[in-house]
Every structure is written in C-alpha cells, then in structure tokens.
C-alpha cells in the first residue's frame, strides 16, 4: 500500500461495523449517559450533593431518596450524579496529559530512533517498573494528596502505554512509501510527523484513549478510596465508598451504589473500546 487510506470512506466503514456490534453500542450508550450526567448533574440531581440532614442518616432507598442517604444524611443519588462530574473531569485531564505527552514521546522516539528513542524507552521502562496503581501512589507520595495531584498522577501513570503504542505504529509507518514520497517532496520532519504519521496512527491511539478512560477511573477512584485523591466532602465515587465502609453491615446500600456506578462506567468504556478495536482494525478480531 503506497497510498495512505482514504479517511472518509474508512470512517464510514468503521461506523458501519460499529453499528452492528451490540456490545459496543451498549458501551457507547453507557458512556453517553455518563457524559450527559456529568455535564448536567446540577440540573438533574434532585438534591444538593452536600446538603445533609443528620436526622435522616443512612436511610435505605425511598421515593424521596432513590438510592437512600449516606452517613451525613445526604442524598446518595444526587452525590453519584455529581460524582460523575468529578470523575469525568479527572479522566479527561489525566488522559489528555497522557495522550499529549505519550504521543509526543512515542513520535519522537519512533521517528528519530537512535539515542532519543533509547532514552525515551528506558524512561518508560523505569515508569513501568512501578507496577500498576503503585506508580500512581508513588507519584502522589512525591506530590502529596489532592485532586490536582491525583489527575497528574493518573496522567503520568498512563504515559508509557501511549508512548509505546505510538512508537510501535510510527516504526512500521515510517518505512511506508507515502512517507518517502512526502520526504522526497521536501516536507520537513514536523510536517511528516504531524500531517502524515500521526493521522495514520490514529486508530490505536483512539482505542487506547477509550480503554484508558476506564483504567484511569479505576485508578483514580482507588486512590480516592485510599484517601490519596479527592478529599471529602467532594462527591467522588471512590471517596464515597471509603466513607461508607464503617456502615457496611448496618447500611450496605451506602457502599453499594458508588461501586456500581464505577463498575458501570468502567464497563461502558471497556465495551466501547473493545468495539472500536474490532471496528477500526478487524484483523485483530478472532
């Protein structure tokens, strides 16, 4: 293939395949509801997220409080809706950090090779030596707890995945003829990188971005559960779960619903990401 694939017809083809994938559509629907909730929580939520009524603590679900009330008598349903806002904000910022930094590092390493590539990849190896959420915890150890640092930690934690994927794509793409042609036509490195290489590496980047939204949510809510992330009284799902622990036996619903919210949204992104992978790159499907 010497020509870069035509993008409009490709997008149509991807959409056609995606439409037939019921699991992906279900995932997409969950994501859509999540985003909608995050955007409009203040208008949808029946109660204020931090308005507590200590006389009505730990009430089970009722007509007034659909999902019951928490240890301070706050409406759990409203807090979960507002929690979507916090989650989406963390996910977007963290994934954006990872996306920009990871893509840049991957592009530079893959395109220039040599010591730049070597240095970048070794740096990624060092980050990856801290397994999973432990890396995010270590970053928090350096930066200190808090919402902003949580976003930074979850972002840095995801950089290596993007860097590796982009580098891999670039390594195979840069040998292709359309890159040679662009170079022969006198285009500079920046133009080749951002006008030719990056657009053709979009498929794996989009897939990774979607799947990473799921991982970041799990990690960020885990950190908040540990008390290292979003601090109370902000309605963050992991923090809500953490606060509900003492009442696990007497009022299990307080811990159940925030966990359910995390699981549903993570599942939505996973389903949608898997569906995108099957649609964008059908060869990867069994």
């Amino acid at each position: 293939m010497s020509e870069p694939p035509a993008r409009t017809s490709q997008a149509a083809e991807v959409w056609r395949r995606l439409k037939r994938n019921r699991a992906a559509l279900a995932g997409g629907a969950i994501v859509a509801v999540f985003v909608f909730t995050a955007l409009f929580a203040p208008w949808i939520a029946p109660h204020a997220p931090d308005a507590g009524d200590l006389g009505r603590r730990l009430e089970p679900p009722s007509a007034e409080h659909w999902l019951g009330t928490d240890e301070l008598g706050r409406d759990i349903f409203s807090r979960i809706l507002h929690g979507a806002r916090v989650s989406l904000q963390i996910q977007l910022v963290a994934v954006l950090i990872a996306l920009v930094a990871g893509c840049l590092l991957g592009l530079l390493g893959g395109y220039y090779g040599g010591w730049a590539d070597h240095g970048i990849m070794r740096a990624m190896d060092i980050l990856l030596a801290f397994p999973g959420i432990f890396l995010a915890i270590s970053i928090i150890a350096v930066l200190g707890p808090g919402l902003l640092n949580l976003m930074l930690a979850a972002g840095i934690y995801s950089i290596p995945q993007f860097a590796r994927i982009v580098r891999g794509s670039i390594l195979s793409l840069k040998e292709k003829e359309f890159v040679e042609a662009a170079r022969a036509a006198g285009e500079g490195d920046a133009s080749i990188l951002f006008r030719h290489l990056l657009p053709n590496a979009m498929a794996p980047i989009i897939i990774q971005t979607t799947l990473r939204m799921a991982t970041v949510l799990l990690t960020a809510s885990g950190l908040s559960f540990l008390g290292l992330g979003v601090q109370p009284p902000h309605p963050e799902w992991g923090a809500m779960l953490s606060n509900a622990r003492p009442y696990l036996i007497t009022a299990p619903h307080v811990a159940t619903f925030p966990g359910l919210a995390i699981m549903l949204v993570v599942m939505g992104f996973n389903l949608f990401g898997d569906g995108l992978r099957d649609s964008l790159d059908p060869r990867l499907k069994d």
Binding site: F130, P131, I133, L135, G222, G227, M263
Partner: protein, 306 residues
C-alpha cells in the same frame, strides 16, 4: 539462552538505576529540608544534624545518591520516625505478607483464567464462551475495593464462611486473594482465549489431527503448550500488578501488607518508609519480570536454542 539471559540482565541496569534515582529523588522533591523530613519535624536539632551528616545531605547530590544506594544495598533504609524501628524490619514483615497474598491470588487467577480461556477458545461462540467473556468483562471492570467489600458482605457477614477480619491464617486470605485476583483472572482468560484461537488455526494443529491424535491431546498438549508462551508474560505482569495493587485489598480487609505501610507512610510523612517501599516493590517487580522472561525462554525453544 545464556546470551538471552545476559541481555535481559544488562537491560535491568538502567531500569534499576532509574528506580533508585526516583526513590532517591523523593526527599529532594518533597518541599522541606531532607534531614528534617527524615528525622521528623519535632526532632531535636542535634539529631537533625546527625541525620544530615550520616546521609550526607551537606554533600553534593551525586555523593548523596551513591550513599543512598550503598545503604540500600546493605538493607539499610533508615529508621521509621513513627514506629521507631529500622525500616527494613517493617518492610520485610509487611512485604512477605503481600507476597503471600499475591501468590495465592495469582494461583487462583491463573487456574480460573487458563481453564476459562481454553474452554472458551475450543468452543468459540458457545454459551460457555459468551458467559466467560462477560465474566471477564466484569473482572476487568470491577473496582477491587468494591469487590472486596461485596465479598466481605456476602461471605463473611451474611454467610459467615470466612472471617471478616484478622490475618495470619489461610482462611483470612481467601476472600482478599479472590478480590485481588479477579481482574487478573479476567485478563488471563482473555489472553489465553485469544492465544488459543490463534494457535488452533495453525498448520501443526492440523498435522496433529491428521496424525490421529486424540482431540484432548491436540488441545491440551499440542495447542496449549504453544498458546502458553504469550500468556506466561501476562502471569509475570499480573503478579507484579498484584504486588503493587494489593494496597486496595489490604485496606479493605485491614491486612498488614506493604502497600498499606506505604500509604500510611504517605499520610504520616514517614519518608524513610515510603522511600523503602517504593524501592522494594519496584525492584521486586523488575526481578519478577526477569524471571518471567526466563520462564518464557524455557517454554519457547526458539529462544532457548538461539
């Protein structure tokens, strides 16, 4: 094989350098005087000066770093300002617990993941396949800490099969191990399925069938041994993630693991503990990956007989 292992060992050097550098930098980046951070804010000035001398905080950075590494190699990670104990004692005690928990978890995850993955692949699109892939989706989507709480609620509080608290016996570890292993079981099942599906399309599987071998022999000997090669890498990675991710499980079940030690260290500004935990967990993970690579080579003759 020897060359392969040497190459892997050589690749360890920059990573270990980086890992020590990162944990060393902790004290340099955190605002405040490193000597005060280590000695504790309420320590008397003489003690702070003693710490400064001993760690060489009055020396140039590279000397400080070399001293840090030299001490770490000898197992000296300083004194915990909260527990007034050598950090190495705390670490070893807590880390051995986390290793036990992770080991039990990876055993459970590997058993479930392999069985589900192989059966799913051999009966692609069957009800079992669909059910186990939906199960795997739940596995990768469930927050560990929530799963832990649910398991505790159902199996300890309501059914009373397992104790809700305490540690030291195997029965205390069962629920935490399941919570910690669920995601890995899901990842291993997906990977095994994909790998098996790839392998059973290969020509040599057709050869095995054309030779009249039993289907069970074809699948569990000829196909599985090939399909295992990429899965082995996943075992190592997942075990490493467990070492690092056990902190959530340890917190839910109030278990004395290294992750909790580290998180407590962060809250208590007990930087010697945090530094030691970072170094220990990362180094262990790197070594686990090395062992995984060697196991990988043992399974794949193409590498073994390079």
């Amino acid at each position: 094989m020897i060359r392969y292992i040497l190459k892997r060992l050589a690749m360890l050097v920059p990573v270990l350098f980086g890992v020590t550098l990162v944990s060393f930098s902790l004290l340099q980046i955190v605002p405040g005087d490193p000597a005060v951070l280590l000695a504790g804010e309420d320590a008397n000035p003489d003690f702070i000066e003693a710490v400064r001398k001993e760690y060489g905080f009055d020396q140039p950075l590279h000397v400080q770093y070399l001293r840090f590494v030299a001490r770490a190699v000898q197992g000296d990670f300083g004194i915990s300002i909260r527990n007034r104990q050598p950090v190495i004692h705390l670490l070893l005690q807590r880390f051995s617990f986390t290793v036990q928990l992770s080991f039990l978890s990876i055993l459970i995850a590997a058993a479930i993941g392999l069985i589900a993955g192989v059966i799913s692949a051999t009966r692609q699109y069957s009800i079992f396949d669909h059910a186990s892939m939906v199960g795997a989706l739940f596995g990768i989507s469930l927050p560990i800490f929530w799963l832990g709480l649910l398991l505790m609620l159902v199996f300890s509080v309501h059914l009373r099969w397992f104790p809700a608290g305490g540690s030291g016996e195997l029965r205390h570890l069962v629920l935490p191990a399941i919570a910690l292993g669920a995601a890995s079981a899901a990842v291993i099942a997906r990977m095994t399925r994909a790998s098996m599906l790839e392998v059973i399309r290969q020509d040599y599987i057709r050869t095995a069938r054309a030779n009249g071998l039993r289907e069970t022999v074809v699948i569990y000997k000829h196909a599985l041994k090939n399909a295992m090669i990429p899965v082995i890498t996943v075992f190592g990675l997942e075990f490493g993630y467990m070492l690092g991710g056990a902190v959530l499980t340890e917190t839910v079940f109030s278990l004395p693991g290294v992750g909790r030690l580290m998180v407590e260290g962060i809250f208590q500004r007990d930087y010697a503990v945090v530094q030691g935990a970072m170094l220990l967990v990362a180094t262990t993970f790197v070594l686990v990956n090395l062992l995984t690579d060697i196991a990988y080579a043992l399974f794949d003759p193409k590498i073994r007989y390079e």
